[in-house]
């Protein structure tokens, strides 16, 4: 086969694919770890600013007085974690105790095999003369299923760690986390289902391309699905106001109470990467991925400027979402655990189902109705989407399923259970 692109001296096509993938893995892991370190710094600075403080602004270049706005802080943090004593309590299950952080960290990183961090690089660079897809494993048809499967493994990391720690606080945190992760998988999946119906594919790059092709982001046509997915993503990432499993005030640190040193760092980094993953997914599924009207186009073959603009647009959307995650942390109080479960099962799950039904209806009959009415299908969908969101919210508000009657119930002989004050429970 005569080589189309620059000669590389590597003839075996499989070898080329492997090398391409390895280069992408190195870039992705390096970029992700660096980004995570600096996002931790950003989170600490933002937390400080919101609390009217300045935050860590002193660590700069070592042995000099140059401060660089505290940009050396992540390195100092990392070094501190590495050199800290790694204490293994005597009462833990050693094997699982070691395994748990590895599991959660591996799972958090493995998700990025299918998450695109841009669109494509131009064909002129491609080893095979084809454009390079900015995904580690391009063309996986079940990309979304893979994401869900791998992100569910994170629950194992949490549960294993909490169980192996042999500590009541850890165990409580782990149980909460397990229940929470399992519950919120459902609304997350339902929120996704509407998107999959719209684009007709489980491939993340195809989902983006579908939105770019029509120029209609999924958030516009199914706002209800967007709300469900964002709330579920917050819960899956265990960020406030859904961080019941590690709330410092009641559970010390939740499932990583007994961890220290590099193992604790793996837990913390994994959690942080979960948040970044959630931001990526929201941006890709609902906010059009790398698409911006009039800037990026949707074609497969692009030149360098468009390719770079697409990367910048995607990363800007992700950064904006991460900032929202960080602001949300300080804006709203934590839910009580029963409220958390009520939100998942009594509000988000029905909302997700309603959204799927509405989207399916418009995909099946939308074109015919649009032709009959004389309005474009996306406009109709967006209109109904807003109406459905409003109605769903109104019904949830009226029904108020999270209100709990927590008065103790007394049972007297010969009498059925009734609440202490008598009268019907609300």
């Amino acid at each position: 086969m005569p080589p189309n692109g620059p000669t590389t001296g590597i003839d075996d096509p499989m070898e080329r694919v492997a090398i391409e993938a390895l280069i992408k893995i190195v870039i992705l892991i390096g970029g992700l770890m660096t980004a995570a370190a600096y996002l931790v710094l950003l989170e600490r600075r933002m937390a400080a600013w919101i609390q009217d403080r300045l935050g860590p602004n002193r660590v700069g270049i070592p042995l000099t007085r140059i401060r660089l706005f505290g940009l050396g802080q992540p390195i100092a943090d990392g070094v501190k974690f590495l050199f800290k004593e790694e204490f293994t309590p005597a009462h833990v299950d050693k094997f699982l105790y070691w395994l748990a952080p590895i599991v959660i960290f591996m799972a958090a990183m493995a998700i990025y095999a299918v998450i695109p961090f841009g669109s494509v690089l131009p064909a002129s660079l491609g080893l095979e003369g084809a454009p390079i897809h900015l995904v580690v494993a391009p063309g996986i048809d079940v990309g979304m299923i893979y994401v869900f499967a791998v992100s569910s493994i994170a629950a194992y990391g949490v549960l294993l760690g909490s169980w192996a720690s042999n500590n009541k606080y850890s165990f409580l945190g782990g149980m909460r986390s397990g229940a929470q992760l399992v519950s919120y998988e459902l609304p997350l999946g339902l929120g996704l289902l509407g998107v999959v119906l719209m684009s007709g594919s489980l491939r993340l790059d195809e989902i983006i391309t579908a939105q770019a092709r029509s120029g209609v982001w999924n958030v516009l046509v199914q706002p209800l699905g967007f709300v469900v997915f964002v709330v579920a993503a917050f819960a899956e990432a265990e960020r406030l106001p859904f961080d019941l499993s590690e709330c410092e005030q009641e559970l010390v640190g939740g499932y990583h109470t007994e961890y220290s040193g590099i193992k604790l760092m793996m837990y913390l980094v994994a959690e942080f990467v979960h948040m970044v993953t959630a931001s990526f997914l929201i941006a890709i599924l609902f906010l059009g991925g790398w698409h911006w009207w009039g800037l990026t186009g949707w074609e497969e073959n692009v030149g360098w400027p468009i390719a770079l603009v697409r990367i910048a647009v995607l990363l800007a959307k992700v950064l904006a979402l991460i900032l929202f995650f960080m602001l949300a942390r300080w804006s709203w109080p934590r839910f009580r655990f029963d409220q958390l479960m009520d939100i998942a099962w009594k509000i988000m799950l029905p909302w997700g189902m309603v959204n799927v039904v509405v989207v399916a209806f418009w995909i099946e009959f939308g074109d015919r109705i649009a032709a009959a009415v004389g309005v474009a299908n996306p406009v109709l969908m967006a209109g109904t989407g807003v109406v459905v969101l409003f109605l769903a919210w109104l019904i949830a508000t009226r029904a108020d399923p999270t209100a709990a009657d927590n008065r103790p119930v007394v049972v007297s002989p010969g009498d059925g259970p009734r609440s202490a004050q008598g009268g019907p429970s609300p």
């Binding site: 933002m46 600013w49 009217d52 403080r53 709203w332 949830a396 508000t397 202490a420």
Partner: protein
């Protein structure tokens, strides 16, 4: 549990209105507060470069000082009221007959263990002659425990250091009428 107990009153949470139940007001309110504070001026004092300035140095409870009178003598009359009032028992006074005609006793030695002190200000409250006062000096360091036991000379020297910035309470009260 007895369900007939008339003394038990079950308090119920106040009912939320539609806006409260819909979570929207909380959502908007929380977010507005956060964003407002994100851009508001910061309270942090960058310590080694800047110093925290107490809004009223006479209210701040920092390192003690022993005041001098107009002739430069220690004002203390060794009445032991401060040592009695001290909840941490950090004041140690050795009284002796006064060399001056206007009082009977004076402290031959007067030591305060600054490491035991809890800076509650009770000594200042108890003192009938305004001899012991707390200054607004807060960065109190030493290399050994012994160094942190302040004797009479040291406490008087704290007065010499701070008398200009922080006049005695009696003087200030006189000035302000």
């Amino acid at each position: 549990m007895k369900d007939v107990d008339k003394d038990i009153v079950w308090v119920r949470e106040p009912e939320l209105g539609m806006a409260g139940k819909s979570y929207l007001s909380l959502f908007v309110g929380g977010f507005t507060t956060t964003v407002k504070h994100l851009f508001s001026p910061k309270q942090t004092v960058e310590s080694p470069e800047e110093r925290h300035e107490s809004p009223d140095p006479l209210l701040y409870r920092g390192v003690h000082r022993l005041n001098r009178d107009e002739q430069g003598r220690v004002k203390c009359v060794a009445c032991f009221l401060c040592a009695t009032a001290c909840p941490a028992h950090c004041i140690d006074i050795l009284a002796a007959e006064s060399p001056w005609p206007d009082r009977q006793k004076y402290p031959e030695s007067f030591t305060i263990d600054e490491l035991r002190c809890i800076f509650c200000g009770m000594c200042e409250e108890a003192c009938p002659v305004d001899a012991i006062e707390l200054t607004s000096l807060y960065d109190l360091v030493g290399k050994s425990r012994e160094e942190m036991i302040f004797d009479k000379e040291k406490l008087l020297s704290v007065y010499d250091q701070t008398k200009d910035a922080e006049p005695m309470r009696t003087k200030r009260m006189r000035d302000e009428g």
